[in-house]
Amino acid sequence: MRYALLPVLVLATLFAQKQADTKPLAEPAAVNPQSVPDKNNLLGLPPLPIPANNPQTPDKIALGDKLFHDKRFSVDGTVSCSKCHDDKQAFTDGLPVSVGHHGLTGTRNAPTVLNAAFNQSQFWDGREPDLEGQAKQPLINPVEHGLADHKQVLEIIRTDPDYLATFQSVFDVSAKKLTIDHVAKAIASFERTLVAGNSPFDRYYFNGKTDAMTDAQIRGFELFVGQGRCVSCHTIEQDHALFTDNRFHNIGVGINQIQQDIPRLTQAFLEAKNKGGQVDTMVLTDKKASELGRFAVTDELSQIGAFKTPTLRNVELTAPYMHDGSLKTLKEVMVHYNNGGVNKADERVNDFLSGGIRPLNLTDPQLNDLVAFMKALTSAWSGSRYANPIPTQAAN
């Protein structure tokens, strides 16, 4: 009997495939338009991961907010987290690379905090697994907040009775027992409120609103999942989209400029690391070492020049682009990918280029459509003080 069924099954499968083939990839997922209200700011986002040892509470979030904006946690009293992750600039700073205390510059572009809560690792090279770990590093980095150690952070808190009272009530911890981990947990809790879904794309794709995106954006979306191959790394799932695979890829940014130096750099970097050098200090104070990317963290040859795939949500608001802020516009980014990992078509492709990067043969109008689609990923974000009512492009 089982065999008798087989031809039927095969036919059914073929039919299903045929059906699937005829449906354009970029068509909205079949969702009842009434099922999800447009006011849902989390539309298109997965459930927010919250660590068991750091539950969200309103008081903790408020404490994190205050810490995040407090300039006192820096060697010259000018640098808060929000200096480079500015609420008014979509939690970035609009600069190619960030500026720390005394005007010192780092080597990397400040990534937005928006939706960072969903990242499986933090920093461009993924050197910390979570927001708590991330929050601790810039404070003591010599070109960021510039404090000598975390004790200085705690000393500043201990001079402020308000902070002490709040830490006491939030964490039930005395001034004496206070550690940097409490500080990090509060900041991370605040950052977990900075999430933003419900972009025109989300309403189009997850909510079935065919008029939520413009024609150019729809064409751009088709390219995004098709000829542009963007979706292979900037992923879209069935019921949510974070536009990142959380992996690390050498896409020919930064590394292209130091190709001749790589043998010397890898050797020198490992030598320095071997002698106890801190990865964050080394990569943020040395432009060339920075370009080693994920290699600096894992020592894996296959990770040379590889950086984390960032989310594309609100990418319209976070120029300039790439880990080094070297590309000013989204169009420049598209051209770089279209050339197969080089800014100019005749530039030398770097030896360590990731396998997925190759020339795409997209036309200029197609690149423009892709840029248009990027602008369909812009959305308001929640969080009481920082709610940002960005006007959406396609009224609905």
Partner: protein, 358 residues
């Protein structure tokens, strides 16, 4: 700061050596020959399949695979004593392909030894290849180890010389898998006589390493994972106490032990082959498959390809595979069980769970 502190601690463990991630753990080096100066490594790149399109155009994917392997090999610390190229530099054996491949390989630092693959051979029977790289079979000694390179991809003279109207067709026929017009690979009598002679001069306790393109064992005939006179070649090698055979061609990780002979395959830089188990016939003896190769991700051109460096320790081989988008693997000779073993995947429970996503 946990991540950073951990990585630093790991480095302190290997203090004194500058170990790049995928290079040798220091313990391996210390285990090796009693005379530690006799320990060495060599790198192995294989199966690049450089393919000419026309004029100055070559298939980009195969180019990038070889370029990347060369660049990474050049970063190895400690420096490998030499580099092997395991055959199939070209796709259809043409001069442009061999020239282009040789040019990419010329970026390698240090000595390179070459093995002949069928894709290099069947157009002009190795004539141009010889001009570029030297003899098709030879031996050399290095730090107490006797290395032998064989051209194992020859076949019956009748097939080679009498069957085909053109050299191009001969090349194409041999390049196919499961091709009824194909013919099994063999080392052949001329080389077997030479090999016997060559080995007669070597003390039986000298470690011997043989490089061939095809497996010097019989795995699957339809894909020429096969050498017709493997048994006769093995018979010449069995008297030695430590013998290793390294072969390319199969584009996947295989290992096996037959008597005194350890067999290891190397990865391709071009593309992966699946394991031909489904095609196995009753009389064939597949080496133990310890971890299935996941289907390569077609987006990541380098997925399921790689290259390897090889640690020569106590006259046995440890193969360290660098695999893009995949976890690096080590196949090490187990001196108790007297056979090569994948260090991670021997235990059934330790195997990679088959991919279910998509």
């Amino acid at each position: 700061m946990s991540t950073i502190d951990n990585s630093r601690r790991n480095f302190i463990k290997t203090a004194g050596t500058l170990a790049i991630g995928t290079t040798l753990p220091i313990s391996l080096v210390e285990l090796a020959f009693a005379e530690s100066s006799q320990n060495f490594t060599f790198a192995y790149i294989s199966d690049a399949h450089i393919q000419h399109i026309k004029d100055n155009r070559f298939v980009r994917n195969w180019d990038r695979g070889l370029i990347r392997a060369v660049a990474e090999t050049n970063l190895l610390t400690p420096k490998p004593d030499f580099v092997m190229f395991g055959g199939d530099l070209a796709q259809l054996g043409s001069k442009p392909e061999l020239d282009h491949g040789a040019e990419i390989l010329s970026a390698l630092h240090g000595n390179v030894h070459y093995v002949m693959g069928e894709h290099d051979y069947y157009l002009d029977l190795g004539e141009y290849w010889e001009k570029l790289f030297g003899p098709q079979y030879y031996s050399f000694d290095h730090k107490g180890v006797h290395f032998v390179v064989l051209n194992s991809i020859k076949t019956y003279d009748d097939w080679t010389f009498k069957r085909w109207p053109t050299a191009e067709q001969r090349m194409l026929e041999m390049a196919g898998l499961d091709n009824p017009n194909g013919s099994p690979f063999m080392v052949g009598e001329e080389q077997r006589v030479w090999l016997k002679d060559d080995l007669d001069k070597i003390d039986k306790d000298t470690p011997v390493v043989v490089f061939s393109h095809s497996p010097l064992q019989k795995i699957y005939k339809g894909w020429n994972f096969w050498t017709e006179d493997a048994d006769q070649v093995q018979a010449l090698l069995q008297p030695f106490s430590k013998v290793s055979v390294i072969y390319g061609h199969v584009h996947q990780i295989q290992y096996n032990q037959i008597g005194n002979i350890s067999f290891n395959s190397v990865m391709a830089t071009a593309w992966p082959w699946p394991y031909p188990q489904a095609y196995a016939q009753a009389e064939q003896y597949l080496p133990k498959l310890t971890v299935p190769m996941n289907r390569a991700d077609p987006f990541f051109d380098r997925d399921a390809t790689g290259w390897q460096f090889i640690n020569m320790a106590n006259g046995n081989l440890d193969l360290n595979y660098t695999l893009y988008n995949n976890t690096s693997r080590i196949v090490r000779y187990n001196t108790d069980k007297k056979r090569p073993e994948d260090v991670a995947y021997q235990d059934e429970k330790a195997r990679i769970v088959p991919q279910t996503h998509y």
